[in-house]
Symmetry: C2
Subunit: 312 residues, 2 copies
């Protein structure tokens, strides 16, 4: 894995430390469970503190640090993207969507709090995220805060995250009454498009947000953007691969949760070997894009290598 | 209705004209129906163009005009609050929430596009609204745009719109598994609290947004805030009354849609006469608050009087 690993830095220790910082921030910004009306605040905390890896907020922080800013300066934005990620998981898990009863071994929000409360918990996290995004003003100035807010909003709309979930549902054919994609799109292009929107758009926006708030130059921002795009792609391919591998380990058969629902995943379209090769290529491109940033970007490179290693 | 009406201004013509301006803005900011992936864009437009009165965006505009700014300057924010209002209606109508098959005589979003697509259409409108809120920068400057974005985000979170819907569901007892309010709250206080959060918070934020973007002084903003709070309360009481009256006219009995679901409405708690009196008192207070703004606020006063007239 020469050129992809990051031997001089302890990536795992970094992820752990910044993850703790994010957890502390989230504990502060989320209303306490006993705040009236308490049910919704319990539901929000149930899903936010459900063992997530905090990858997206850590990318905001790592990107800001690569351009010379502090983690604390971008913490509100880091927390905001994790709230957005959590809201999307709650809604994706709903009975009308992916119908998932558990996530990371814990019961999902609608299983514990009912479907109505899960819809509302997602909506409340969505709104709280934008409240947080406006709180960067003090540190980064209103222009930068406003630009980041806009980029995040676009990354999670129909050209981004929500659009990806739409294509995922249409491709899967479970959405009632709409069992076929209205537009004729080749399957290879479709699986790329789903991943780009559903995962890569927000991951790229996280990386750019850190850079933008930290005052990155145009050249630095271009580098971070290319890193973010390819990292987002690699991350979702690896996630697809792990889903297959994980299910094999548990069930002893070649059928992941996604396969059961006949989702359009990279392994389903390109096979396991083809998917691994594509994840590796995307990771190499992501790390290559960081060259202009010099040694300050070593941790970003390390994170990319670390995420790829998960699939080995 | 002396003192509440606005004889020198044609409020209805104003509402019609500004409503058309908002409709034009919405048609521009919403992705065309054939934009890929088209299903979600069709679902969004289905619900946004479903005969809404555009009250919230018109309040943004009227408030800005009362402080001397133009309607065009605040049009992105006006459109944004209508998208937020529409997203909340789509989610409120879901089978797991109020389970409404029709709204203003048209089939609701989930009836036409399926439940999954309705959840996502709401989510997409929510995100697009915040995209729009960041587009005020050009006209009003980034500080004001950021402040308005924050106030709107807070008005629709658990201390505002979503919190109101939570209390509505809990009070109604339809949310599965949570049939009783965990906190002991007197019913009179609860119905006020539901309305304040569910409707008045966003309406007040709309009025404030127009003032803030237009550069209102502190005194003007205080006046607009008191107007917005009481107008929001009056508006929801009148809506409750109309629900009862409308159902009586259609079904020939004293049972509105809300009563069927045993919702905590003003008529249910204070009776029809008590509710009318409260709506009228709130309207008088709203109009009284505008005094400091002088003749420029005549239209805001006229709108308040017009909304109260609906219940007569």
């Amino acid at each position: 894995m020469q050129g992809l690993s990051c031997p001089t830095m302890d990536v795992e220790a970094y992820l752990l430390d910044r993850g703790r910082l994010v957890d502390g921030g989230l504990a502060q910004v989320l209303p306490p469970e006993d705040t009236y009306p308490s049910t919704i605040h319990q539901a929000m905390r149930h899903s936010v503190f459900a063992g997530g890896k905090r990858l997206r907020p850590i990318l905001v922080i790592a990107s800001a640090e690569a351009v010379g800013a502090s983690a604390e300066m971008v913490l509100p934005t880091a927390c905001a993207v994790e709230l957005i990620h959590t809201y999307s998981l709650i809604h994706d898990d709903l009975p009308s969507m992916d119908d998932s009863d558990t996530r990371r071994g814990r019961p999902t929000c609608h299983v514990v709090f009912g479907e109505a409360m899960a819809v509302l918990a997602g909506d409340a996290l969505h709104a709280l995220a934008f409240d947080l995004l406006t709180r960067n003003e003090t540190a980064a100035g209103p222009e930068r805060a406003l630009r980041v807010t806009q980029e995040i909003a676009r990354a999670i709309g129909t050209q981004g995250m929500v659009g990806g979930q739409v294509l995922d549902l249409l491709g899967e054919g479970v959405a009632e009454g709409i069992r076929r994609l209205p537009e004729p799109v080749p399957i290879e292009q479709l699986v790329h498009d789903i991943h780009r929107r559903k995962t890569a758009a927000l991951i790229c926006a996280c990386v750019r947000a850190g850079g933008l708030l930290a005052g990155a130059s145009r050249e630095e921002l271009d580098a971070l953007t290319r890193y973010g795009q390819d990292l987002g792609l690699a991350f979702q391919i690896v996630d697809d691969i792990l889903d297959v591998v994980g299910e094999e380990a548990v069930l002893g058969k070649r059928a992941g949760g996604d396969a059961v629902q006949a989702k359009l995943t990279f392994p389903a379209v390109f096979g396991m070997q083809g998917s691994s090769a594509r994840a590796r290529e995307a990771t190499v491109r992501a790390i290559g894009a960081l060259e202009v940033l010099g040694p300050r970007a070593e941790l970003l490179a390390g994170i990319a290598g670390f995420l790829l290693e998960r699939a080995r």
